[in-house]
Assembly symmetry: D2
Homo-oligomer: 424 residues x 4
Amino acid sequence: MKIERYQIEEHNTNLSQDHKRRFEFLAQDISRAEEIIQKLIKFQIAIPSWALGTGGTRFGRFSGGGEPGNLEEKMEDIGLLHQLNQSSGAISLHIPWDIPENAQAVKALAAQYGLRFDAMNSNTFQDQPDQKLSYKFGSMQHVDKAVRKQAVDHNIEVIRHGIELGSKSLTVWLADGSCFPGQLNFRKAFENTLESLQEVYAALPDDWKVFVEYKAFEPNFYSTTVGDWGQSLLYANKLGPKAYTLVDLGHHLPNANIEQIVSLLLMEGKLGGFHFNDSKYGDDDLTAGSIKPYQLFLIFNELVAGMDAKGMDHATGLGWMIDASHNVKDPLEDLLQSVEAIMMAYAQALLVDADALERARQENDVVRCQEILQNAFRTDVRPLVAEARLRSNAAINPVQLFRELKVREKLIAERGVKTVATGL
Amino acid sequence: MKIERYQIEEHNTNLSQDHKRRFEFLAQDISRAEEIIQKLIKFQIAIPSWALGTGGTRFGRFSGGGEPGNLEEKMEDIGLLHQLNQSSGAISLHIPWDIPENAQAVKALAAQYGLRFDAMNSNTFQDQPDQKLSYKFGSMQHVDKAVRKQAVDHNIEVIRHGIELGSKSLTVWLADGSCFPGQLNFRKAFENTLESLQEVYAALPDDWKVFVEYKAFEPNFYSTTVGDWGQSLLYANKLGPKAYTLVDLGHHLPNANIEQIVSLLLMEGKLGGFHFNDSKYGDDDLTAGSIKPYQLFLIFNELVAGMDAKGMDHATGLGWMIDASHNVKDPLEDLLQSVEAIMMAYAQALLVDADALERARQENDVVRCQEILQNAFRTDVRPLVAEARLRSNAAINPVQLFRELKVREKLIAERGVKTVATGL
Amino acid sequence: MKIERYQIEEHNTNLSQDHKRRFEFLAQDISRAEEIIQKLIKFQIAIPSWALGTGGTRFGRFSGGGEPGNLEEKMEDIGLLHQLNQSSGAISLHIPWDIPENAQAVKALAAQYGLRFDAMNSNTFQDQPDQKLSYKFGSMQHVDKAVRKQAVDHNIEVIRHGIELGSKSLTVWLADGSCFPGQLNFRKAFENTLESLQEVYAALPDDWKVFVEYKAFEPNFYSTTVGDWGQSLLYANKLGPKAYTLVDLGHHLPNANIEQIVSLLLMEGKLGGFHFNDSKYGDDDLTAGSIKPYQLFLIFNELVAGMDAKGMDHATGLGWMIDASHNVKDPLEDLLQSVEAIMMAYAQALLVDADALERARQENDVVRCQEILQNAFRTDVRPLVAEARLRSNAAINPVQLFRELKVREKLIAERGVKTVATGL
Amino acid sequence: MKIERYQIEEHNTNLSQDHKRRFEFLAQDISRAEEIIQKLIKFQIAIPSWALGTGGTRFGRFSGGGEPGNLEEKMEDIGLLHQLNQSSGAISLHIPWDIPENAQAVKALAAQYGLRFDAMNSNTFQDQPDQKLSYKFGSMQHVDKAVRKQAVDHNIEVIRHGIELGSKSLTVWLADGSCFPGQLNFRKAFENTLESLQEVYAALPDDWKVFVEYKAFEPNFYSTTVGDWGQSLLYANKLGPKAYTLVDLGHHLPNANIEQIVSLLLMEGKLGGFHFNDSKYGDDDLTAGSIKPYQLFLIFNELVAGMDAKGMDHATGLGWMIDASHNVKDPLEDLLQSVEAIMMAYAQALLVDADALERARQENDVVRCQEILQNAFRTDVRPLVAEARLRSNAAINPVQLFRELKVREKLIAERGVKTVATGL
């Protein structure tokens, strides 16, 4: 399935009058509107290969139709998203599910869709059918050196695949931890994990980064061996300059102030990547911005401020990725909604009057500080984001066009009703 | 201190061109703009008498200047707020601190400020200097009947004061509970509390309501005898048709879905009142809408839908009150920000296309359901709320005018720098 | 696999001297030792059919060997447990996985193992291969009456199977809820669910009970339609005298005071059943007593006090069941540990000096209240529980004997290494 | 008030027969009983000067009688505790409340009571009557250098007092943080705080330590500038070898795995001190071991294992202190209960068979790991702890003797009924 250029243009023509009216009205109040639009155009959010099918829980999974069955179809799906919003121009692969049999062909296909290869993801939280040793009791933390070696080798293999495809980073998320008090020697688990990561780190090309992701709990329910940002930072500091912390919004204890964590990691020069999603209870993996959009804005406010303070380029300074699960929505529509929410939060953060904010802080004028942030957040930035899309030849309203073009129906026609995407 | 009519007009004149431009642009997209504005104008949020001074924690309190020292000054403060936003036309008294010595004079003063007397609040969570028996181990739950009687008598006295002033409701918040496992016989504590409430209920005039507020924890740290909405509803149902549950946003366990609670209480005909504030951790009593504005909108969405389903009048169907603490902001500015955030959430809820939402739900079109809510929330409704104020002769930008008129400076000049508001 | 009587006797003979010494030492300080032992002997905890295999999470499952492949093997497993501890004399079935093809044969087999059929469990949170309509958007809450009817019919069928086997209760756990704000009309979802439950209730034999289980979240991550004890109680009260609330320890928001909930439900005469497990973060489904053993004791303290106050028989007054998942332990060993922890908590609760506690409460002697509970909890009751087992011809140390007899190895020999238990 | 030696002996004589019977029975099963008793005897827990009066919340305080009104009376109170349990031989002072006017006299008095001076505590979370600049918007984080300097100077003064008294450490707990999004520049707040701490650090004698305490929230309700162990460790590492992290049990987000944090901080050589208390919701400051005694044991298990791994002396390797608030109990009885619970958790941790545990971990025998910990925890160690007291000439049952001797009544007779302890 392919969307034709004229179909997007037709859609935009239909909506352009209304859009133009709204955009122009908004733009007259925003002095830096052009600059913001350029930043929005440049900002790309990677889509992980596992997010294209219907997700599930331990209680079950209600798959939809037309889900991609292989890497080529996954790229096709992301290609469709990218055509619709021109903000999803990257794919994040999950090995072993996405091992490219012919790397050149896969690269050529990606180029055709306008996609680059974002961070590679290894997998040591499940046992594969042909796997020699089990990860039941962990991978890089394992008491058995042979299991650790297997996990290290797998990660090195993932790097190898990534090199072939032009990726420049590896994300390591370890499910390692324990389910019961006493199960683990926390210190040895840390040391084993560090040693394993060091071996992976040694195999990292000079121009690569490794992201050490942390998570408070699940699938282990008593402890996690990379459990919070403090632990991740310990590993990253001990590993060296190519190692960074990766923040996933859903991987925190209740009430955590994630924006502060983000700010401090940037201060330390150790924030590497970001996984977007939203949650109410745990790692719910809901659509970005669907539960706490103000928190998403506050996080972007710290990201923008922290990156600007370091002179980092917003688009390329960090690895940006969605990591959500779509249990009750069409996965592609869900991803479009996530990208939209992320772009809006970014746009709102760009609207913040940073100088005025700093002045208000200097005066301890808390009321004014709040007003400055809320003024940005309360602004209806949808026309700004839509204008960025329009200028990139994407659709003014991607979800609407997705439905008008009956994308899902066509994918079902091509791929069948009973499909289950590979990977988690 | 009094704000002159011309001062508000001058302020509005200065801002009116910009406002008009924004309002007219917005209004052209909202078919029911007029209806919404009328509802916004009618909607009044009561200010509790204890919210006018700087709040504190057990670790200390950093009082500001010009705080009101008696009931008359508290009414003066709320009168100022009401002049500025015309949305704060009610005061909620706290006995014993606000006992009116001359009810007629107090009523006359209130009328002058355009204020009515909202719910009366009793206090049995502190011991007063002249108090016979201590509430250290609870009031209505107490194992000693004499303590319970003292608490009941106090509540009946509060009702009596309320009758004199024209109030029509009593809010009972009990700090009763326990700090340690074993301390309480939960069932007897419930029964004692019920019996005490029944005695208060018996003293309630026919046209009065009693609101049974619940709270998960603090000041008791193991159990609370009216701890959640389920318990409050048990009491309210056992008490009778004049008894209702009151929801305070900060009184829940982490991650609670408050909007669902609100919806079910309305379904049961037992939601009576509402205390607005915001929180990140516990009963933080922060400015409404300062932490989770989307949650505030979702709650209003349920309030509007639920009240409409019962044919209830939005403005008078429930008791609306702010219950926040202002530890680092000017209390009056903080209250203006809270009212603004509440009005915005209400306006956004009124924008929701309820019919379209119900259709999307019927089709399990979750993506569309979300879009409908987000479309309302993402709309910049500030011009709508400002227009409602403008038509009520309030200020287009209340916080700005508060500062322009140097209200705080004048209050300090009148009342002094070293002031501590009475009441909590 | 069967454990021979002599094997248990041999084990007990080996341990009896030590046991006797400990038991006699303990017993001399406990005036009601005999009475407590008799209560422990009578107390039976049902094992759900889905708890016999290795559990998993959405991230994977690491199955062990020798897992039961059908109802007969599940009964065999529970029979083994019951031989070892004589406290697991009941099985709780999960339909559709455990549909008995020949009810009489199944009953005969159960009798042979000394098992009775505890509550029947329906399943509407997954789609079965041959199922006509999907539960993707709920079952009893569904907007489509046909889906609701399918769910009701399924529950009625479950009752029918239960009648054949001699069960006397139905547990309804609904995964119904929503993942996103806006998705559900909370009130209609409640009403649909109530209507569905009423239809099931109508099919309930006179001597049956129905347990309405609640859960705060998962698999739905925004709202659950039977989300807390307050909602469950609403349903139970509207349904009638045969309907009760069921409490599962893992189904609460963080920090919830579960023992108070238990106490109030008993007070209302509406506590029906109990699911034991433990958790640190969410519905972690860990071994009972492995994380918060003091909480387990406090809950039993309320259960004993509340049931005594109503004159209820401890063993038969409520439905007692384990509901845990065994991801990293041998499921049978895990269940033995859970039963042991439950028996200990029950024994400790029986040790509480209820009269002294009530007196201390009357005097608000909080220090003494705490000491009374802690005195019971700090007592090493393992000899008491072991004595109850010894007198029932069970093993003094069930886990030890399980290993000595190489039960798992024999089950693997019989059933194979690559097994996955049916059911969740 | 002084307890006479004969009074303790009389009490012990009365209880000794029962005690001896229990102790001897227990000791025969514990190979290292003598070693454990010696460790228990050496282990001393400091009492903070602010814990001797009735605590309160922002909602009020219900003071008891006979509370100490000055430093001398506070030392007298701790002297009484120490006589009763011989485990509370240290006092932790809070400046400005406990400024010693005559250090030599205070030292002499302390020596008389057998007390040493544990960590000194500075206070910058309240404004003192004579204070030049306000801490309303923080102290060491403050945007105004003059405020930071005032806070630094205060800490240096606290060190000076500590030197006079023979203390060897300073605990810095900062309430610094923010109540609203936007209020703080997180990075600048961190940098200001670091700079301030560096100035304090520079004034630290060579044989002193500084403990950087962290807290998730309260009194600030949006962010805390030393908010979690990760942040505290960042400061400690940047400060240098004399800087350590201090863990207070109540200062974490819901569900945090504190034992893992403790283990990792010990691994990093950066755990410095410990504040004991217990909590169900937030920083509830309840009696140690009153809510989650198993967690307390698990923490001690990590402390013992981690200190042993480093060859640290248990009694002197870390700073041990209670930090609780006594709102509904007699403060002295409450402290006796806390010390008892701490000693029990320590004794249980000493009972853990560390070698067997390590072997079980090596085999991933999770069931056995759990059994090893639970075997230790389920052991009734009260006779061990009592024996340690008996050998130290303390009371077998301190709370009982406290009551028999009518200590509180005598303190009231000496000091009066209406007393409010100074300090928080």
